[in-house]
Symmetry: C2
Subunit: 364 residues, 2 copies
């Protein structure tokens, strides 16, 4: 049986829509181009979705959760059990991603692709997702209870990485089938900036030192430990830069592979993917190495504090909408950017043209 | 009779709230500081409003509209009649500010403080503002039908500038009395980037060339004409940099003075003022020259394309939340930033603490 992500077909974007959409933007009652990035976003969304009037609602954030063997090496300020505790917090609605999603009107989908302990769904709200006010939809697609320590051997087998990609594909597909028109990528996993740095270094060949930051809050000494862990993992496992699945298996994470799978699923259905911070963007980067055709479907939300993030966004040719010094993850930056994505769509939909409003256009 | 803005009292901010609010932010289920600017915004809003749990809803945008005699000198890409046409567009709900305000759930208040022709209120929605779905509240507080050409003499008399300040004070006060908890500043006035540059140059002493940009869309040749108009107006009228009312009268605009008056009114009631682009920020700058006590009540939304904008924001010590290459005005950037302001408040209100959620805190 072939994995669905491995036999995907990703349609070409509708570049032919760029001109008619820009023409319409120029007829709206404002000087041409004066809404700046909102206008280029509207064009990019039309090109990606293949619709002259693209939609981004309803939107949902997909929070992939998993644990990391490397977290036991002291690379994080938090103990590994926080991953499961935060998943419970997501299911009860008390985390930042819940608060921002409630405000933005976005559905929260949490997927356990490899949390070390089982999260009792009873502690969260039950399905179905349709229940209004439910803090989150929860799916268990556990490939294994956390990765092995990549500084001592491969984080997981190739087969496990493939299954994690498939878990992400399936989760995103279910969201899209439930009607979601834009998927924001989020994650939770103590230790996952370390794994993300290793994946990014393996895929891009950039120096590890440029890709290892302070994470959600480590001191410079612990950052040094993270950097050593990344270097040791790469030297020991020798992932093949030309084989993204090999990279994800040897030095990645279950949630990072799942984010890559979700990205492939969204692109195959022309659903825009709104990347969050470092880890989510590394997931999208891995997807782009599996199939470069995903890139036109990727949208950047914010630039996080993590130093490697901006560089990977540039590699992907994606400019963030804002930089608010965020470094939390969970999808928080992406969900905060939703209102800007929606604004771009609404401008196109709802503004009057010069003709309709009886407003004089610019003098020749 | 003394004008209300001239006998104002602006309370001191509650700096003593900064620590308890930051303490609460640190107990929420996220690494300390990991929500970046959202956290500092929450603190700043608490300090400004004097409430440990500040509110920014309901929010409204105050769009001050007026014409400029200097617009007849070809400083804009648009003919002067566009000011009145756009006011009608605001009242019918077809402009960018209507679209973005609808999305953000913000009320639009439009005030004619000096549009050259009378806008027939019949063309727009009638009062009262309480009517759901009404595109805008409209108030006529016309001081005069547009300013005189400042390149030939003072734009208006000192008395007229004082009355425009009072019109702004009154409009903002009415909004606040109607329940508005955050006022976004917007404007409409063909030619008003030219007047704003003149006001900013007079108040700060910075070179005119640094303060004159391309406005909403002029070519470099027309920018040169703008620069000459600003220089001529300053040389001819010699506004007194130590007397902001003199500056507003000689080289300002009716809507710029009204924005200054609105800023003073908001600060006197501890209502946060969310500045939009160049013109709105120059209005706030003029208010800060009338009374520096307004500054803690000022919040920057975006940095516009206009080159002087970022410099004035730095002068005011206010960092924008994003830079999306916008240059439309109307309050569009400010209203787009509302969701970020609200996110800051909601984080403080709605997130679980480590204790409440049973999540382990960072290792000592």
């Amino acid at each position: 049986m072939a994995y669905k992500w491995s036999v995907r077909e990703i349609p070409a974007p509708s570049y032919e829509l760029a001109k008619p959409v820009q023409d319409r933007l120029n007829r709206l009652t404002k000087p041409p181009g004066s809404l700046g990035r909102l206008e280029s976003l509207a064009v990019d969304l039309a090109v990606a979705t293949g619709r002259e009037r693209p939609r981004v609602r309803p939107a949902g954030v997909l929070v992939m959760a998993a644990d990391h063997g490397v977290a036991r090496s002291g690379v994080s300020a938090y103990p590994p059990e926080v991953t499961a505790q935060m998943v419970r917090n997501f299911l009860r609605g008390g985390a930042a991603i819940n608060v921002l999603s409630r405000q933005a009107g976005a559905a929260v989908w949490v997927v356990d692709v490899g949390v070390a302990v089982d999260v009792d769904p009873e502690t969260g709200e039950p399905d179905p997702p349709e229940v209004a006010g439910s803090p989150a939809v929860f799916r268990v697609k556990k490939v294994r209870p956390g990765t092995a320590d990549m500084t001592e051997g491969p984080a997981m087998s190739r087969e496990e990485a493939e299954r994690a990609l498939e878990a992400g594909w399936e989760a995103a597909t279910e969201m899209i089938q439930a009607g979601i028109r834009l998927v924001a990528l989020g994650e939770m996993g103590i230790g996952n900036t370390t794994a993300s740095a290793a994946v990014a270094a393996a895929l891009t060949g950039w120096p590890e030192g440029d890709l290892v930051g302070l994470g959600t809050g480590v001191d410079p000494l612990r950052r040094q430990r993270k950097l050593q862990a990344v270097r040791r993992a790469l030297a020991l496992n020798r992932p093949n830069p030309g084989d993204p699945v090999d990279v994800l298996a040897k030095v990645g994470g279950l949630e990072i592979a799942a984010l890559a799978g979700a990205t492939l699923a969204c692109a195959s259905r022309r659903v825009p993917v709104l990347m969050d911070g470092y880890i989510a963007t590394v997931g999208a980067l891995a997807a782009a190495h599996v199939d470069a055709a995903v890139v036109p479907y990727l949208f950047a939300s914010h630039r996080s504090v993590e130093p490697g993030h901006g560089r990977i966004l540039r590699w992907l040719g994606r400019e963030p909408l804002f930089d608010l010094d965020m470094r939390l993850g969970e999808g928080t930056g992406a969900v905060l950017a939703l209102s800007i994505m929606e604004a771009a769509v609404r401008i196109l939909d709802e503004m009057a043209t010069f003709d309709e409003a009886g407003v004089s256009d610019a003098e020749g």
